[in-house]
Amino acid sequence: MTPKKVQRKEKEEPRIGVYVCHCGLNIGGVVDCARVAEFAAGLPGVILSKDNLYTCSEPGQELIKADIKEHRLNRVVVASCTPRLHEPTFRAACEDAGLNPYLFEMANIREHCSWVHLHDKEAATEKAKDLVRMAVARSKLLAAQEPLEVPVTRKALVIGGGVAGIQAALDLADSGYKVYLIEKDPSIGGRMAQIDKTFPTMDCSICILAPKMSEAGRHPNIELLTLSEIEGVEGYVGNFTVQVRKKARFVTDSCTACGDCVKVCPQVAPDEFNAGLSMRRAIYMSFAQAVPSTYQIDMDLCLNKHGIIACDKCFQACQRQCVDYSQQDQILTLDVGTIIVATGVDVYDPTPLTEFGYRKFPNVITSLEFERLINAGGPSGGNLIRPSDQKIPKTVAFLQCIGSRSKRSNIYCSNICCMNTIKDALLIKEHWPETKILVFYIDIRAFGKGFEDLFQRARREGVSFIRGVPGEIIEDPETNSLTLIGEDTLLSQLYRYEVDMAILSVGIEPRKDSPVIQRLLNLSCAADGFFLEAHPKLRPVDTPTGGIFLAGCAEGPKDIKDSVTQASAAASRANILMAQGKVIVEAITAVVDETLCQGCGMCVKVCPYSTIREDPETKIAQVTQASCAGCGTCVAECPFSAITQRHFTDAQIFAQIDAITEEAPETKAVAFCCNWCSYAGADFAGVSRMQYPTPIRIIRTMCSGRISTEFIEYAFRRGAAAVLVSGCHIGDCHYINANHQTEKRVNRVWKKMERLGLDKNRLQLAWISAAEGNLFARKMKEIDEIIQGVTPEEIEKTKQILVPKKKGKGEGTEPKE
């Protein structure tokens, strides 16, 4: 794919049509629309200018189409509501009339003008004129653009073979796509395979999982790669190339799982699948229902680990001669179009909480260990026994929130532990009804379907719920029984309960190796370490990187049902891409002018998507168009103006600044707002009719990362009284973390202003979310006060001394005044 050359200059003269919308009385009741239209008619390049009642209505659109044809308009400007609402409508109308949709421009005179200045009609009309002037100025520099179509490879990769990964793989495979299912353990199944029963239905976990596991194992469209890990990922949406290390198993596929080899193996180690509660051999199969049903050798444990055959007992025992000590790791290269990350979770290790005595007292165990103990396939054959004496306990305590909701471990609620404990308590009651069960909790969170019922059932069956987690567990040195010391907060009295066994209901946490996956796939993580979704409400299974989706606990703690739901959702999202077979990339991507690029690498550093790379020989930057999200951060960073963002060019933005500062700049503030948060926040202030002063003029960019220091300085040099740079809150950026660059740049300008003795208060930086209309309005009032305080001398001084730094030749150099 070669990026399209930007059209530098339109050859034909601009013929602009301007339409000022009354929006009934919404705009017309405040702004004198006829006067605005009359004003627009006098602007250079404007061929016709009209005001009408509802521009978005059918007749309104028809009028535009007719004018385009009749007056040979090559630009259309509509002054009405926010482009976030009707830009697609008018673009479509233009396209209908044969005008490239990228030649359409909007001025927002409703949300940003009439609705927020209801009581100052004169000032609102003046502001509307400015907004139209800005739109007209920008429209002149717009260029026709063609969106890019990228083909999508119709194969998917699913990372992680837990229940989420299995579900996603099966859904995609059933839809007819080839799926690679990668699992780092010897078998698929994940955490669910370790659990005895599931809540709230009390189904046997492996009984419902095993059929799905074998289905995944034999599905013609699924290629199962166990003992495999991702080592490298390249490419972009629809076109990923993935390197996978398939570790040597030392047992070939012809293994029938007869188990003859195990009997002769001399080496033992704690069994991971049974949470270390039993031992396994060096040659082993993790559990009876394992898929693939093939043994493997743990070479770290095997006597042959140094490549010398010191023991060949298993080889001798195997009639089918499946043992192969010389097997090597394989590196596979897979081409896939979509990737689903279902890497799951680790379980919190409570050893650091010394007051509970885990690992010190044998009868203090974790909830995962409990699952293996109560499971018929576990080390005790399903008998709940005390590790100290193998006796069945008469009194059992569960301690909730261990390793969750705590600054000492993980601050979040692990979501599953309450219900898991209730389920476990009922399981004990089912097998040994006489057992006394105490649950020490802080809050019982039984929020899901059927959860509250189960909680009530546990109480009716005699499980005691005591509010207040013990401060300490102590052990009787002779009996190994435990005493729990704590406070019952509901009775406000201290307790001492003697129990035979205590189960720490441990939380779940991100995989220790998830930073590796994060780096390889260029994902982002939330503060808690789980992978971040593209949008918490509306794109909950997408990642910010196109073509990569999340399923299961990798995104956050969740139960089996939610994991499966999310897996199907992720599969469906991946399915959409692959079914279409292509992706459309909006024509707002960055393109490099190779004649100007000096190969400094600044753009490579700031790109949140790692989508720019340097040509190894020429060092010239290359932007992969398909994975460029169009934030413009690289454009703002380039010291040589060698990168342009299509549809958001430097020239267009400079033209908007010029338009704002053409008249009485000392009374105005130039604001740069990002499309997703702060511009939307300003829209929200408008929708909520929050009134604020009129001096602000907003320039919209996709991301605040697009704002270069030149824009800010240029606005000041043009005599603007104040400048506002505004974006999403740090951590909420819609382009991963591009707003970090915004912060850095504003800091740079602040420092420069300080150095030059200018009032740096005139440059404001504000993080405003789409929901914070009130914050936006408050900021506008603040800025108005700042403007009142700025003296003509200060403005004059700024014009004189805030000189531009020398730049390379390119579009980004400011226009000649």
């Binding site: 007051e355 929130c401 471990s409 207040g468 987690v469 401060g471 406070e487 019952d488 201290l494």
Partner: protein
């Protein structure tokens, strides 16, 4: 003068408490005395205000062992909250006699125990250096500046 415990302790920090009771569950004083324990003390401060605790002589049942803070899953600096409560209580005249005596003695001699003839003799027997009186003017000068006498009524 101290008017509110929130001058010494950031109230915001208390919102992180979800009343798990690991503090009171670990508290040695709560084990042997009828008292609120850290959990309830904290909740009272938060919901009812400082007046709900500072006039109560039971606030002083604390052994200052700080185990509450050590066990708090939310890392709330409970020991600092308690110090703030004690300081304000002391200022309101809610101060145990024995503490008042100790504070008074430090203010007068620089030491919290009385050094009598017997002590000096015992030390001499072990050929330990004598415990000379301290420069009390210096200490008094410091106490004047920190306002000990303005805050607490000493004998």
């Amino acid at each position: 003068m101290l008017k509110s415990i929130w001058e010494l302790f950031n109230k915001e920090d208390l919102f992180e408490c979800y009343q798990c009771a690991r503090c009171t569950g670990s508290c040695p004083a709560a084990m042997v005395m009828k008292c609120y324990g850290p959990r309830e003390t904290l909740l009272r401060c938060l919901n009812l205000g400082q007046e709900a605790v500072i006039n109560d002589e039971r606030v002083w049942y604390c052994t200052t062992c700080h185990v509450c803070e050590d066990r708090c899953p939310q890392e709330i600096n409970i020991s600092e909250l308690l110090t703030a409560i004690f300081n304000l209580a002391a200022q309101r005249g809610n101060l145990p006699e024995k503490i008042k005596f100790g504070v008074d003695l430090i203010a007068k001699t620089g030491r919290s125990l009385i050094v009598n003839e017997k002590v000096l003799k015992d030390r001499q027997k072990l050929s330990l250096p004598p415990l000379d009186p301290l420069n009390i003017d210096e200490i008094e000068g410091i106490l004047k500046k920190t306002g000990l006498n303005d805050a607490i009524e000493l004998s």
